[in-house]
Structure formats: C-alpha cells, structure tokens
C-alpha cells in the first residue's frame, strides 16, 4: 500500500472482485520494468529534446507566418500567377533541379516556392516578392528531424530515438499491469514518487494511442532510409529508385534536350469542377527539358492520406495518378503516416490536441526519469548530480529553445548555436553547483522571461504586424505559456507524507 492511499481504499482492495485484466507473472513484470527503466535512462535526454521540438513543430506553419509576418499572403492564387511565378523562379534559379511550389491554403496562405533550403514568396501577379525562409522555423524542423547532425546520420539517430520510445511505451504497459485499472487515479498531493508515478501513468494511459502512433511513425520515418538502402543492396544491386518506385513512382530518365516550359494554367484547369480535390503542391523537375516532370499533390478533405499525386505532361494533360489514396493498403498506410505523425489532418483543433498531447509526452519522459531518481533517493542512494543534470535538460532545453528564437529575432545569432551552446553550459553549471530545485525554479523563471522577451522583440522588430493575424495568435500563446511556466507557487511540502 502506498503512503497516500487512504485506509478505505485498502479495505476496498481486500474485498475487490477478481480483476478483468489477465494476471501477469511478477518476475516478468519486474524484468520488463528493468528494461523500461534502463532504456528510458539511456535515451531520455534525446527523447525529451525530440519530443519538445516536435511539440513546438506541430505549429510550424504558424511559426513560419509569425517569423515572416511581412511576406505577402493570399487566400487564392490564379493559375496565371502560378505560371508566372514558376517561370520567374526558374529564370532566377536555372540550376535548381527540383522546385516545389506551395499553393495558398488556409494553413499557409502564401504562393511560395522551395529552392533548396530557400523559400521565395510571390505577390498576387506571381512576381517574386522576396525570400521568406523563416530560418528559426527551419532550425526547429531540423532539430526535430535531424538533431542538427548530418542529415542521413541525424535521421537514423532520430529513428532510433523513435524506436526506443516505441519500446518504452509498449514495455511501460507490460510493466504496469494495474495501469488501466487505475486509469483515473491522480494524487499530485502525495509523496514525490507517488505524484510523479501517477502523473507518468495517467498521461501514459490516455495519451497512449497518440504517443504510440507518433513514436512508431517517427521510428518508421527515421529508419526507412536505412532499411531502403539495405533492401536496395539485396534486391536491386543498390538501385534505390527502383526499390521506391512502387510508392514514389518511376523517376523518368533525364533528357536535357530543350523543351517548352510546361503549361501550368492547363495543368491546374484539370482540377476545375473537382471540388473533392484541392491542389496544394506542385513539384517541378528538370524544367525546360524533355525530361521535365510536373506533379501536383491534391488534398482529399475527408481522407487521412496527405494527398493524391497527379502527373502531368508539358501540355497540361494528366498522365497518371500515383494511387496514394486508393491503390492498395500499403500506399495508403504510407501516405497516412505523415499526417498522423505531424498532426496535419484536422486543422487547428487537431494541432492544439497534438500540442497538448505532445506536452504530455514531454511530461511523461521527464517524470519517468524523476521517478527513477526519487526511488534512488528514497533508498538512501541519491544521485544529486544526475538530478541537477536532468533538471537542466528538462527546463534548460525549454529556456534555450526560447533563447534561440529571441537571439535570432534580435541579433541574427545562429539558432543552432543559440540553442546548443547555452544548453551545454547550463548542464555543466548545474552539475557543478547548487541543487536540483534551484535549477528547476531558476530555469522555469528563465524560460518564462525569455518567452515574454520574444514577444517584446517581435513587437519591436515588426511593429503593428505583431498584433494581427497569425502573429498575434502566436504572440498571445507565447505570453500564455510564459504565465503557465512561471513558478508562481511554492512547491508542495511533501515531507508531510
């Protein structure tokens, strides 16, 4: 019986009816719990940083609009403007192999084009209005997907983190056979270990479908490249394109013979009278050559798949569809995994739910390590340096993530340095001096102050643009976060238990 369970419950427990849950052998539970703890400790820091950055990255489009509020927006782009923009971009960047053109959508109301890592936006006539690459949002995206490592290595490392998280979620349920029976029990006012265990277990139970889907799809996205290389090595003598052709389609052979620029007006006209298809992205490959390829992604509003892809010839005639929405279960699962991972299948309400459940996953990760540390302390074997380091990782990464945004907006300091260098210093300082509560309270305060500072810097830099549209929503959210994170109340005196 734990310290905070009242005597009434103890009596109730004794006369409890047989559980509807199958009995699990205690030795199995203890062994799985050992694996759960061990794996969690090894991977916790990386899991936490990937989850934190992923939670913020759910709102990537909103952050891009917030970071570049002066760039022109439009709710609809005429086909003529799209044609003009494509030609202008190709003329300005003739060596760009592939150009991706984003059409205005409610979530990203801009006609924009990706050329490498640069993003250009168009005005209503399709003229290049300027660059809106949103470097901080780009930094955030790379932090989540690559941890700022070289891309292939980073993707695999993040995939391993996803696999570890998947293992932790599954082993967590195997190691806690009573977790469903106690699905609503939450005792924040209890011993530290009890409150953290309740927090960990309750958020784990109800967030489980989301957590498992995000972790599993994350592992899949990260490790797919490694697996595809292996499959290609075994089955197609290393020809990766041949392996991926059933999913991504056949890549045509390059033919540099000059050819007329594709007719995007006719291409987009194919979607007229098809209200169930909303074209959102055009990918243009090897433009102005005979080997050119025009592909259009169209969103199907009531489907989980991210889009259906249509291939067109230079005259705007539709040649074929890729079949992401209807050609077999495999393709549909593949095309559904990205919206499920990034929370992009239901507009802002789904994003907010993803944001909240993402915070829950961060809390589950944080409390998992705290439970282990508290157990050690309760047994008379405290690990004060680890406690301080963990406090610095949990609250230091939130503080330095906010700091990287403030420094980028104010002084154009590289966000990569603005995030990692202070975080490393904070962890080193935390290990060396003071105690864990000092660092927790101090870094919560620092996070709160820095979030508020971001809003001030944004307002000074962009003036009235900070107080309208999406930028206003983001700024108000940042201020709300600052208020929630600030350590207003003294921690509970848990010595009473």
């Amino acid at each position: 019986m734990d310290a905070a369970t009242p005597p009434e419950s103890a009596k109730a427990e004794q006369v409890n009816r047989p559980s509807i849950w199958p009995k699990v052998p205690p030795t199995f539970v203890r062994a799985v719990l050992s694996g759960h703890s061990g794996l969690g400790l090894v991977a916790a820091a990386l899991i936490y940083i990937v989850c934190l950055s992923g939670t913020v990255a759910v709102f990537l489009n909103e952050l891009k609009l917030w970071e570049e509020p002066a760039a022109p927006t439009q709710t609809h782009a005429s086909p003529q403007a799209v044609q003009a923009f494509a030609e202008a971009i190709t003329k300005a960047h003739p060596k760009a192999g592939v150009v991706y053109m984003g059409l205005p959508t409610p979530e990203m109301p801009r006609l924009h084009a990706y050329v490498g890592e640069q993003v250009f936006v168009a005005d209503a006539q399709g003229r290049i209005a300027g660059e809106a690459s949103a470097p901080w949002a780009h930094f955030l995206e790379h932090l989540h997907i690559y941890l700022h490592l070289p891309e292939t290595v980073g993707l695999i490392v993040v995939g391993l983190v996803g696999a570890a998280l998947t293992g932790l979620i599954i082993s967590g349920f195997l190691a806690h056979p009573k977790i469903f029976r106690d699905a609503f029990a939450f005792r924040w006012a209890g011993t530290k270990r009890l409150s953290q265990a309740d927090l960990h277990n309750r958020l784990s139970v109800w967030g489980a479908p989301f957590h498992l889907v995000v972790a599993w799809t994350g592992a899949y996205i990260g490790l797919a490249s490694l697996l595809l290389f292996a499959v290609a090595g075994v089955t197609t003598k290393g020809d990766l394109a041949k392996v991926t052709a059933p999913i991504y389609g056949v890549v045509p052979k390059p033919d540099p013979t000059p050819a007329p620029f594709p007719d995007l007006v006719k291409t987009l006209a194919w979607f007229d009278g098809k209200p169930e298809l909303e074209p959102t992205l055009i990918s243009l490959t090897a433009l102005g050559t005979r080997g050119q390829l025009v592909e259009v992604n169209a969103v199907l509003p009531k489907r989980l798949v991210y889009a259906e892809r249509y291939e067109f010839d230079g005259q705007g005639r539709m040649i074929k569809t890729l079949g992401l929405s209807n050609d077999g279960l495999g393709k549909q699962v593949f095309a559904s995994s990205y919206p499920l991972h990034f929370g992009s299948f239901g507009g802002l309400p789904v994003k907010i739910a993803y944001g909240l459940l993402g915070v829950a996953l961060c809390v589950v990760t944080s409390s998992g390590v705290t439970i282990w540390l508290t157990r050690r302390r309760d047994r008379g074997r405290p690990a004060p340096r680890l406690e301080k380091a963990w406090a610095a990782i949990v609250w230091g990464s939130t503080a330095t993530l906010a700091l990287s945004a403030a420094l980028w907006l104010a002084l154009k300091v590289s966000p990569v340095w603005g995030f990692w260098a202070p975080l490393a210093l904070l962890i080193a300082a935390a290990v060396a001096v003071k105690d864990a509560p000092f660092w927790t309270v101090g870094l919560r305060t620092a996070t709160s102050v820095t979030l508020a500072a971001i809003v001030v810097v944004h307002a000074v830099k962009f003036g009235g643009l900070s107080f309208s549209g999406v930028a206003l929503g983001v700024n108000l959210s940042l201020l709300a976060l600052a208020a929630v994170i600030a350590p207003w109340r003294r921690p509970l005196d848990r010595r009473a238990f």
């Binding site: 019986m1 734990d2 905070a4 369970t5 419950s9 109730a12 427990e13 409890n16 203890r30 050992s34 694996g35 759960h36 703890s37 061990g38 794996l39 696999a163 998947t166 293992g167 932790l168 599954i170 082993s171 009573k178 029976r181 106690d182 699905a183 609503f184 029990a185 939450f186 924040w188 006012a189 209890g190 009890l194 309740d198 109800w206 967030g207 479908p209 989301f210 599993w216 490790l223 490694l226 697996l227 292996a230 075994v234 089955t235 059933p246 999913i247 009531k302 489907r303 050609d327 077999g328 279960l329 495999g330 699962v333 593949f334 559904s336 299948f345 789904v350 739910a353 459940l357 009473a496």
Partner: protein, 196 residues
C-alpha cells in the same frame, strides 16, 4: 448528406465521447461494486463516436480525431477528480488506487564492461537484427511491392523496439547476444535463399 446533418453528427460524437469517458470514470469510482455495464457502455459510446464522426471527417480521419477527443476528455476528468492539495487538518479525499507497483529486477548493467556490452547490444546489434528482419519482411511478405515495403518499414522499428527493451532487461548478456545474432542469421538466410 447535408452539411448541417454532418455537423450535428460531429456534435453528437463529441457528446458521446464525453459521456463515454464519464461512464468509464464512474466505473473506476465504483470499484469494487459491479461495473461491467458501465465499462461496456463507456467503450460502446467511444466506438459509436468514431462511427458518428465518419460522415463529417471521413472514416480513417474520424477514428483519429475521436481518439484525440477521448484523450482530451479523459485528461479533463483526471484533472477534476485528482487530489491537488495537501489534506491538512481534515480527512484525505479517498482516491481509489491499487497498491504500489513492483520494483524493477536488477538489469544487465551492473558493471562498466557489462554496461558497455548492454549498450552495444541495444543499439548496433539490435539495429542490425531489425534491419535484417525488415529486409526479410520486404522479401517474403505476400502482396504488392508497396505492401511489402510498408510492412518492412513499419515492422523493423517494432522489432528494434522489442530488442532494445529485451537487451536492457535481460541480465544474461549471452542469451540476448545469441538471440539477436540468431535472428539476424535466420533473416539473412531467408533473404539469401529466397526464390529468384
């Protein structure tokens, strides 16, 4: 189906989620009294919510959205019924919960050399086994080529996740080593001996 009817069904689905979670919460509160009806009713309403959402959101999207709704609704019930303050000077509010959890068994990382071995088993050796199993799945899974690839791409991370947990749990390093090397070998043989 008109937009009004679809929106009405979506609203009904939201209500079904709220009532379904409430019934499950009541069942949790009532334990050890009979509560099978509450549990069955709660889950039935949650399933019904996913069905009701389908006309408005689509089948697969409806399931995903209703699952999110359940998570949010349950969290609200937990927050409402949780114990947040110290019960100073008065009787503690009873919170139904079973006795404390188990203690973990000693893991494999008892010394530095064993820790290094366990980490090597959990990362490169497990990854190699998972990739080998993934390639075998890509080769042997029946069906279209896309189905084979997707099964492999989703299967390999699950195998890796299981291998990571196993290598962090099992004190017998030789057993985990043999298990993972054996899995890799069997999968490699399955790939090599596939019909061409």
């Amino acid at each position: 189906m008109s937009a009004t009817v679809q929106t009405g069904l979506a609203a009904a689905a939201t209500l079904a989620v709220a009532v379904g979670v409430w019934l499950l919460w009541l069942a949790w509160k009532r334990n050890p009294k009979p509560r099978g009806g509450l549990i069955a009713g709660g889950w039935a309403l949650l399933v019904t919510a996913a069905v009701l959402l389908a006309p408005w959101a689509g089948g697969d999207r409806g399931v995903a959205i209703s699952t999110l709704l359940v998570a949010v609704a349950a969290t609200i019930f937990i927050v409402i019924s949780g114990r947040w303050t110290l019960p100073r000077g008065k009787k503690a509010k009873p919170i139904r919960a079973t006795a404390g959890g188990a203690e973990p068994a000693p893991g494999p990382a008892s010394t530095w050399p064993r820790t290094v071995a366990a980490v090597l088993l959990a990362l490169p050796v497990s990854t190699a086994a998972a990739v080998a199993a993934g390639v075998a799945l890509a080769v042997w899974t029946p069906g279209a080529q896309a189905d084979k690839l997707v099964t492999a791409a989703f299967g390999a991370p699950l195998i890796l996740a299981g291998a990571m947990v196993w290598t962090c749990a099992d004190r017998k390093l030789l057993r985990t080593t043999l298990g993972l090397v054996g899995l890799t070998t069997v999968c490699a043989l399955a790939v090599v001996l596939r019909p061409h």
